[in-house]
């Protein structure tokens, strides 16, 4: 398959940035999107040009590093996946593919398609944990948790911090990410104790870092590779109300 790639190139945070167009040929349908970019980079290096910088690590959909905004959608034209799980068979031969970085003030661009997502770490540092050491895993039956609750907490815990929710949101809001963390811990007995303090601190940090506020458009939920429901945002709102009144 042959493609025309329009890729965002930007030398650093201060650079204005621009699109560059590349032609790429003979890509097999089972090539992953990141492998296709590897092939492009090989070609660019051979031609003595600088390769396209993009983030990736596990390449198996669990680390959340590979955020790319492809043809108007975070992680490209497939549902419930990260970019590393996107394959070229999802495109048509001859397609033009536009690749952009996540765009949000809170995620400044480091180079080309790589953004600085450390804002998420800063939010987590405000309370995305339990502040005492809970020791070894206890006997499973010593604290009973109903299966529905465990399941829902597990769903929330599956957030990989990729930032697609921020990228998809018209307000660049981080609510789905924060809600996943708050909800996950608030549902479980060990996390409940600090729930009030946690929800206030994490929301305050999220606001301070320049993320927008939630207007319930649900774009985040559609683009989240882990299918995290905005019902966790409703729980976050409940926790926030409980913490304040």
């Amino acid at each position: 398959m042959d493609f025309t790639l329009k890729i965002w190139r930007q030398n650093g945070p201060k650079d204005k940035g621009r699109f560059e167009t590349y032609e790429i040929e003979n890509i097999t349908p089972e090539t992953s999107f990141l492998e296709m970019l590897d092939i492009l980079n090989q070609k660019l290096i051979k031609e003595g040009k600088s390769p396209v910088a993009f983030d990736h690590d596990c390449r198996e959909g669990i680390c959340g590093m590979c955020g790319l905004y492809i043809n108007g959608r975070p992680h490209g034209p497939d549902d419930d996946i990260t970019t590393c799980q996107l394959f070229m068979r999802k495109f048509k031969d001859g397609d033009t593919i536009v690749v952009e970085p996540w765009r949000a003030k809170a995620f400044p661009i480091i180079k080309d398609l790589i953004v600085d997502r450390s804002a998420f770490d800063k939010i987590l540092q405000e309370g995305g944990y339990i502040s005492v050491c809970t020791g070894e895993a206890p006997e499973a039956n010593s604290i009973l948790i109903p299966p529905e609750v465990a399941e829902e907490a597990m769903d929330a815990a599956s957030c990989i911090g990729c930032g697609a929710c921020v990228a998809a949101c018209k307000n660049a809001s981080a609510m789905l990410f924060v809600a996943a963390k708050v909800s996950h811990l608030a549902l479980l007995p060990q996390g409940k104790i600090e729930a009030a303090k946690r929800v206030k601190a994490m929301i305050a940090k999220m606001d301070e870092l320049g993320f927008g506020s939630c207007t319930n458009t649900r774009a985040c939920e559609i683009e989240c590779p882990k299918n995290i429901s905005i019902s966790h945002i409703a729980r976050l709102n409940r926790e926030f109300l409980k913490a304040n009144f």
């Binding site: 975070p74 003030k105 998809a168 206030k200 320049g210 993320f211 506020s213 207007t215 409703a234 304040n244």
Partner: protein, 220 residues
């Protein structure tokens, strides 16, 4: 602090919006009296009751404050949310989200434009036209006769559609913001929100069309 946080602000917006939405139901029932009773007596009686009732007088100020607050605060928040990106995406969003949820300020702005016209046509005249004090039935004719002009009927229907689009998103969104949803209720509330929006849009439109059509048919 509650109001300093984005979630607190959002909760205040949803309370103000849900209050306005509740008012619409009362307004719709009141207006329906012009259809139910052709003589206009029922409508005028209801108007008189409202003008004399102390609680309703207070509610009038609360409502005005609610509108003003809602308009300015949501405009401020919309503007603030727009400034969270330095560069916009080159390819516009392809994620399939509902139109009404993405364009609340636009539907709100259309509502506001017609609201000003509406307030001039009715509220202002009800308050300041002295002949209506002597002859209260004039209120009924004022309401009904506006719709004898086809373009006013059209304006109002456009208004009600914008209102419907606004409400389609807002009821479920407001309840969600108050934390009143979960996995199971999220889709049910979406449906309830749409049904409420249709109820309001169709309900008000029927009243306008009724007055227009009875006029046209009687003069045919």
């Amino acid at each position: 602090m509650f109001l300093n946080s984005s979630v607190g602000k959002k909760i205040v917006v949803s309370v103000s919006g849900l209050f306005l939405a509740l008012f619409l139901v009362v307004h719709l029932f009141l207006n329906f009296l012009t259809v139910v009773d052709d003589s206009g007596d029922a409508f005028v009686e209801a108007c008189n009751f409202m003008e004399r009732n102390f609680i309703i007088k207070i509610m009038e100020y609360v409502l005005a404050a609610g509108f003003i607050f809602h308009i300015f605060y949501t405009t401020y928040l919309t503007w603030k949310n727009r400034s969270t990106r330095t560069t916009n995406y080159h390819v516009s969003q392809k994620t399939e989200v509902s139109w009404s949820s993405q364009n609340m300020w636009i539907s709100g702005f259309v509502i506001l434009g017609f609201l000003i016209l509406h307030l001039y046509n009715y509220w202002y005249k009800f308050k300041f036209d002295e002949s209506l004090e002597v002859e209260p039935i004039g209120k009924f004719y004022l309401v009904v006769q506006l719709f004898h002009q086809w373009y006013y009927t059209l304006f109002y229907i456009i208004w009600f559609i914008a209102l419907g689009l606004h409400l389609n998103h807002s009821i479920q969104s407001g309840l969600h913001t108050l934390g009143l949803t979960n996995q199971k209720w999220i889709d049910r509330l979406n449906l309830i929100s749409s049904l409420y929006a249709i109820f309001i849009t169709v309900g008000f439109s029927i009243i306008s069309l009724y007055h227009y059509l009875t006029y046209v048919l009687n003069n045919y």
